[in-house]
Symmetry: C2
Subunit: 261 residues, 2 copies
DNA sequence: AAGCGAGAGTGATCGAGATCACGCAGAAGA
DNA sequence: TCTTCTGCGTGATCTCGATCACTCTCGCTT
């Protein structure tokens, strides 16, 4: 089952945070592993273009599981026990430092592989994966995974693609937190980036933003209060609208003009 | 030869910077491509563990070239024409925003592949590669590279490894610029990180630091002046010594205590 | 209905660090 | 030998955003 091993860097305060995850349903959440039989459909879902043989090889070694929101899939510092293929739901990839500050590095979507680079390099996970929206994951143990990509060239290529996209995403993140000096700039950049998942209608983009201000703050490296204030300012300027968890970009151009990337 | 295409994001001031690279030897520098015959030794150098067949396939499609310091290998926004394998020297991977600010994302060492993820995803280069120390590179054109990793499983695996290490490095960078709030903290982290290439003797690490304060500033996301001031402060506290380009970490523990990663 | 807790909104304060504006030294070239 | 240029050292300001300390408003549970 889930390994309880924790790296030295995982200091007490952080651990407390993890024991009581933001929206967690208690400790049982993290252990909720529902075994279901792998279905053909689920696999082809996120592994388009793989050969029959490869798909079957993957199916043989994978374990499907469902997790509720708040569950922790793996934690920074644990030995990389395997790769998790995200089939359904949303997963938050984050890192914390010893005084409890959190940086969210990525919001993973279905089709992505979690822990991939750690498994390939054979080093401990360097991120923590927390379920944001109830998710379905296929777990492939370390050894089986390496054997599989060694034997199946198309699988290797597929994962090289995923890795490449990962790289691009992180470079983008580094650029945005390293080059956008002001919070309004980073926030504008984030909103524009997030809204690419939304629906545009004559210049006005509408998209679901099911995140707390706290989470947005951790995504752009700012404090919760400044996020609140800056969002208010954007609303005041009619640049955005924000009811419940629906975000409307009224004036996309205004946001873009803020970003000097 | 080098494609002159530039993305819209490449605004005038940035371009001016590129036309006059820091330590460049003028515009001719960027065009200095010296064709030499590929040697067996050079290849095995950075591609340990590849099969004979794969090595030969690589040799057939690669073009060796030498570049002087200051030369630009490729620029952010250009279509990804191929992968550059770094054989000798040092390369600076950076990104700039429209008001001229620069962030250095990585200092590449021999054995690394430049432009790898862009070629695999088939998107334009998202970084600029500038020679820091005179370098020798093997260029593999886009199509040849993809064909090669498609046909040779071990090559694919090898590059997946490089990609994974890239990922790790960038996650590390994002963590350090996103989680280390103060400049002293980031600078300490940088010095510790950099010193892993140095020689340690009873607690005192000695390493070459052939970088200007400006470059260090761009590596940790700070201004040149604050880097100067913070380095002075470290010297004053006897934490480090810095003569010419030789860095001596007198008190590694002091630096480590500053970093809350 | 009452209590609770999480998230959001706001004000006041204060310090780190960006920015500007210099002087200075050593290397490179004329 | 005399400029020039690039990189380093420093002082004076001033702004942005972190932090602290609240209140208020929803949903939920009980």
């Amino acid at each position: 089952m889930a390994s309880p091993i924790m790296a030295a860097r995982t200091a007490a305060p952080c651990f407390e945070r993890w024991r009581n995850p933001t929206k967690g349903t208690g400790s049982s959440a993290r252990l909720a592993v529902v075994q279901t039989s792998p279905t053909e459909e689920a696999v082809s879902d996120s592994c388009e273009g793989l050969s029959e043989g490869t798909l079957q090889a993957l199916q043989k070694v994978e374990h499907l599981a469902s997790f509720p929101a708040g569950a922790i899939i793996f934690m920074e510092g644990q030995p990389a026990r395997g790769v998790y293929l995200l089939r359904q739901g949303r997963v938050k990839l984050l890192t914390t430092n010893s005084d409890g500050r959190t940086l969210i590095l990525k919001m993973a979507k279905p089709g992505e592989a979690l822990g991939l680079h750690s498994v390939i390099t054979g080093t401990p996970y360097d991120l923590t994966a927390e379920i944001l929206q109830p998710a379905e994951l296929a777990f492939i143990p370390h050894a089986d995974f390496l054997k599989c990509i060694d034997e199946h060239g198309d699988a290797c290529l597929h994962f090289a693609n995923l890795l490449s996209r990962d790289c691009q995403a992180v470079y983008g993140l580094a650029r945005s937190i390293g080059l956008c000096r002001s919070v309004p700039e980073r926030l504008a950049h984030f909103l524009l980036d997030w809204s690419t998942n939304g629906s545009a209608m004559d210049g006005v983009v509408r998209v679901k933003l099911a995140l707390t201000h706290e989470e947005i703050a951790q995504l752009i490296g700012a404090s919760r209060e400044t996020v609140t204030r800056t969002l208010s300012e954007f609303k005041r300027q009619q640049t955005i609208e924000l009811n419940r968890s629906t975000l409307v970009l009224r004036n996309k151009a205004a946001l873009e003009s803020l970003v000097a990337l």
